[in-house]
Amino acid sequence: MAGNVNIDGDYVRYLLGKLTDQESARIEERLFADDGSFEELEIAEEELIDAYVRNKLSADDNRLFETKLSHSSRLLERVRFALILSAAVSTVPEQGEPAPVSETITSLVPGERYNKPWWKDFLGMSSSQPAFRMAFAAFALLLLVAGAAMFTEWMKLRRESQRLLAEQEAIQQQKPELERKSAEQQSQNERLTAESQRQRRQQAEDQKLIDESRRAEKQSQESARPPGVPGILSLVLPPGLTRDSGAQHNLIVPPGTSAVRLSLVLDADEYPRYRAVVKNAQGAEVRRFNGLKARRTSASSIIALTLPAKTLTAGNYIVQVEGLTSTGVAEPSNDYAFRVTKP
């Protein structure tokens, strides 16, 4: 075989049909026997095509090549490819090292920008650097994870916000009720305060009366009071009213009596405080007592009232007792009846 054949030159001349039949047969025999030779011939074909595309063939060679070209669709396709490739590489910068591929890709066709989707540039997918791509991939993954976490957190906050809003609405709905209750409570407090003040005044008056009664008693004992008449009369009253005059508790108040003490026996001591009103037979209030406390005896609980004797004229009387709850609400407790007789 022709071992000293100039590969490029002979192969190109073979392809153009410029070799003798014998020279051509020699090349062909070699390319059938040796795959490497066949590849060399294909490379020579590429170089011939590139020379044609770059208009570097002589007029004669150009004509011969176009003759081949007109009878081979495969060759035509390769020339079309070479045109695109030539356009792509012709825009690579001239100076220095070969330009980065990413730059080259963006200017494949002269005067036209490589029309890639914007997101490929954004994501760095056009980069030829594996590290750069890896970094972008990691960044994208990080964004994804962070986005998912933020979304979860946002959902959580949204649920919490909705819950708080619902609570606020509920509170808003309850507000009038609470305000009403608060006003009631305040009113109750004011009432209790006023009651307390009144009781203190009453107690002061009572004390004053008691002091007067004591003084009067002393005077009567010393002067006008007959011997054997007590200064203060005491009467124990069980609970309940009776119309039977005979069964009524009668209190004879002799002249010179300064005060009458009524001991009201309770059915049960159920309240922290009590109040009592003494009324005559006509229902007129004779005396009112507030802030009373029950006193425990061995048998029962008793509320004690002391009235000036002069406030009691002869006649029937009732005592109405009400229990006061811890919130100041008055509830009926017991009624008592007695008769005053004056000799």
Partner: protein, 246 residues
């Protein structure tokens, strides 16, 4: 010599190839071959003169094809690979020789080789034998009037190189896509390798070869293989474009 059959004119068909004598013998061989029979022969109709001349045409059987593959390699896969590569070589041969319908000539060549093997001919070195048969088919093709008419009357035309509207854009997109599919170093190599217009070609390629640490010819082969992959990719890409509805 690879051929053992004394009936075959290829016995006299020694290198150097081809000679006028060889051409004459080859034509004679082809004429003789058309008169032979075997179990797969088909009778052809009478000729134009009305005389009933029986011409038979051999057709490829599975058995003959299997025998052909076995001659390439005992390993079936390797045999298939070599068969396909031989087809490509044959195709290029007929193309480079300027023969019309190269596909048909390739089939004709391989059928004849398969027939000889099926008939019991022992072939020691298959590729050169195939080339010799291909050369005979080439000579036969040269005799066909249509072939010479094509070459002599059809004016060379490069109109086909003018891209249709939108085609250039499709090709450019395919090129970009396929270029991106290449590995980064392959992409860089092919773009750098073909920058021969504006740089001193030899110097540039030497620089590339030095950078890669390979001889210049290895660089040349490497660039060719990358280019071949790129071309195949673009071919597939364009065919996809073509099959897509407008």
């Amino acid at each position: 010599m690879e051929v053992n059959s004394t009936q075959n004119l290829l016995l006299d068909y020694n290198p150097p190839l081809p000679s006028l004598t060889a051409k004459a013998k080859a034509v004679s061989f082809l004429a003789e071959e058309n008169l032979q029979h075997n179990g797969n022969d088909q009778k052809e109709p009478t000729d134009a003169t009305g005389s009933r001349r029986e011409r038979v045409k051999w057709s490829l059987t599975q058995q003959a094809f299997d025998k052909l593959l076995a001659c390439f390699s005992p390993d079936r896969d390797e045999a298939a690979r070599q068969y396909e590569f031989t087809r490509v070589k044959l195709l290029r041969f007929f193309e480079w020789r300027g023969i019309c319908s190269p596909d048909k000539r390739v089939d004709e060549t391989l059928d004849r080789v398969a027939r000889r093997i099926d008939e019991g001919q022992q072939i020691d070195n298959l590729p050169p034998y195939i080339y010799k048969v291909a050369y005979l088919v080439f000579l036969e093709a040269l005799k066909e009037p249509k072939h010479t008419a094509d070459l002599e009357t059809d004016p060379p035309s490069t109109n086909a190189l003018v891209f249709e509207e939108g085609e250039q854009e499709r090709r450019r997109r395919c090129f970009d896509r396929c270029l991106e599919e290449l590995a980064a170093d392959s992409r860089k190599l092919i773009l750098d390798y073909y920058q021969e217009e504006r740089r001193a070609k030899i110097e540039l390629r030497k620089l590339l070869a030095d950078r890669l640490g390979v001889p210049l010819n290895a660089l040349r082969i490497r660039a060719h293989r990358i280019r071949a992959r790129l071309e195949q990719c673009i071919e597939k890409c364009i065919s996809k474009f073509d099959t897509q509805p407008a």
